[in-house]
């Protein structure tokens, strides 16, 4: 084979292979989009995390940032945590822990710092709720953030209707035993006593680790009309 013929055959083979590659890349891109692989680039120049991100090691960068969040919280610098939390969730939206912990920091720890200013306290609690809702949009197929949001509504916001809504959603997915117990309590607080009793009966029938608690709760509800035993005078 002459040099020119070999060159032309090589070029033809390369062009043909690239023509095969292009539609395959399109199919891969489509499937990545369906699987939720978002193309997110967080530019943080001058830091190790920035270099890691550029090198394609987003997960590792998110972990390093997450370590910083832990350090800032334990050193009392709660406000500084916020942009870093945002970066972690931006880099790895499927990493549920930062959403859950972030929501907790906003609704509980930061709001308590401004408890003398009711408007600000309410705003921080709402910020936590919104943060958790955003986390749910990226992780709709897991119980975790539905439970966190439901619990925040139950325990902090005292909006039992919303608590029931999110705890019911949490119960649609594989979950630990305490979720059903939390839902039963939310039903009770929301005035849905029949649903509360039904849920505790289901817990008893399932024989899970909360069955003994459910037996007690059901007994208290039937006897005293509340799960809390009144104090003896």
């Amino acid at each position: 084979m002459t040099k020119i013929t070999y060159r032309n055959s090589s070029i033809a083979a390369i062009v043909l292979l690239f023509l095969l590659l292009s539609p395959l890349q399109n199919k891969i891109d489509l499937q990545r989009k369906q699987m939720g692989f978002e193309q997110r680039l967080l530019l943080m120049p001058g830091q190790i995390t920035g270099s890691l991100i550029l090198g394609g090691f987003k997960g590792l960068a998110a972990d390093l940032l997450w370590l910083q969040v832990e350090e800032l919280f334990h050193s009392g610098q709660s406000y500084k945590m916020l942009p870093i939390l945002r970066s972690v969730t931006f880099l790895q939206p499927k990493f549920v822990t930062p959403w859950a912990v972030g929501g907790w920091h906003l609704s509980y720890n930061i709001s308590v710092m401004v408890k003398d200013h009711p408007e600000q306290e309410k705003a921080w609690i709402q910020a936590g709720v919104d943060f958790l809702k955003e986390g749910i949009s990226y992780n709709p197929e897991r119980y975790d953030l539905y439970f966190e949001l439901g619990w925040t509504f139950f325990n902090k916001v005292k909006n039992y209707a919303e608590a029931v809504k999110y705890l019911e959603l949490a119960c649609k997915f594989p979950r630990p035993d305490y979720i059903d117990d939390a839902l039963a309590h939310a039903y009770e607080k929301n005035g849905q006593i029949d649903r509360a009793m039904e849920t505790w009966k289901e817990i008893i029938n399932s024989g899970n680790s909360f069955s003994p608690t459910a037996v007690r709760m059901l007994h208290n509800l039937k006897t005293y009309g509340s799960t809390i035993v009144p104090e003896k005078k």
């Binding site: 040099k3 070999y6 060159r7 090589s10 083979a13 390369i14 292979l17 690239f18 095969l20 590659l21 292009s22 395959l24 890349q25 199919k27 891969i28 891109d29 499937q31 990545r32 699987m35 939720g36 692989f37 193309q39 680039l41 890691l52 550029l54 090198g55 394609g56 090691f57 987003k58 997960g59 590792l60 998110a62 972990d63 997450w66 370590l67 832990e70 790895q92 499927k94 990493f95 549920v96 822990t97």
Partner: protein, 254 residues
């Protein structure tokens, strides 16, 4: 083909004896072990850290091994002039290149397997189970390394050692960023620029295709169709790079 296998075997043995290969492997194993230092985190976070550090480490150090070993495998033959002796024998240049590629693929596979065994051991020690999806991540890392080996050989066939090293590392970095560039081009109003970006997006190897770490470390599953498509992409790109390598090597004076 038999001659290619002989070259592959020889390349494999030489690469194993390379100090740089052994040192990189030791550092990789140290990094994998160092993920144990995060015991102050909750068990869930610690596991995620182990998976992130380990998979990133396996990919990075495998790439380093693949690039250095492949570059040395070819360049050393030119620099010591042993290639003249080899090619004076009845050995086709295509068999030589194929043998080098297979040898490098074997040595990189061995490195990936050793690191994977340590990684699997760490995970089993921590959580007493191992998700199948983590094997998918390891498989795609290995497929990515085949592409990197082929590209390194292609560049080493005509360029100097320094240029090969810088170029392939740069390509490794850019290959992880092309997806971002392409997604940004959707915002552009200039159709000519969009076409140019699309052209480069299809030419430059997209290493992000092989990056499924972020999904698997948080418990996601990867469909087999995705693995097959991405592996197919890797094989086609490897073939392109080897054709380029063969072209430059075929008429190179030795």
């Amino acid at each position: 083909m038999v001659k290619a296998i002989v070259i592959a075997k020889n390349t494999f043995q030489e690469a194993l004896r390379m100090r740089s290969y052994q040192i990189i492997l030791v550092f990789a194993l140290l990094l994998l072990g160092s993920s144990q230092l995060f015991s102050f985190l909750t068990p869930v976070e610690q596991l995620k850290m182990i998976k992130d550090v380990s998979l990133s480490g396996i990919e990075f150090f495998s790439a380093l091994m693949a690039i250095l070993a492949s570059m040395t495998a070819l360049r050393s033959e030119f620099e010591t002039n042993t290639i003249s002796t080899l090619l004076s024998k009845p050995l086709k240049r295509s068999d030589f290149i194929l043998g080098k590629f297979l040898g490098m693929a074997l040595v990189t596979t061995l490195g990936v397997v050793i690191m994977s065994v340590v990684f699997i051991g760490l995970i089993l020690f921590k959580q007493h189970s191992f998700e199948i999806s983590l094997f998918s991540a390891l498989f795609l890392i290995w497929a990515e390394m085949l592409v990197i080996i082929a590209i390194t050989l292609a560049v080493a066939a005509f360029a100097s050692t320094a240029f090969t090293l810088i170029f392939v590392f740069f390509l490794f970095l850019v290959g992880h960023l092309t997806s971002y560039g392409f997604s940004l081009s959707g915002e552009m109003k200039n159709p000519v620029l969009q076409v140019i970006i699309k052209f480069f997006y299809n030419i430059i190897p997209n290493f992000e295709n092989f990056a499924i770490r972020d999904q698997v470390v948080v418990g996601g599953t990867i469909p087999i169709t995705y693995l097959l498509k991405t592996f197919g992409y890797g094989i086609i790109y490897t073939a392109i790079a080897l054709i380029v390598c063969l072209y430059f090597f075929r008429y190179r004076e030795v």
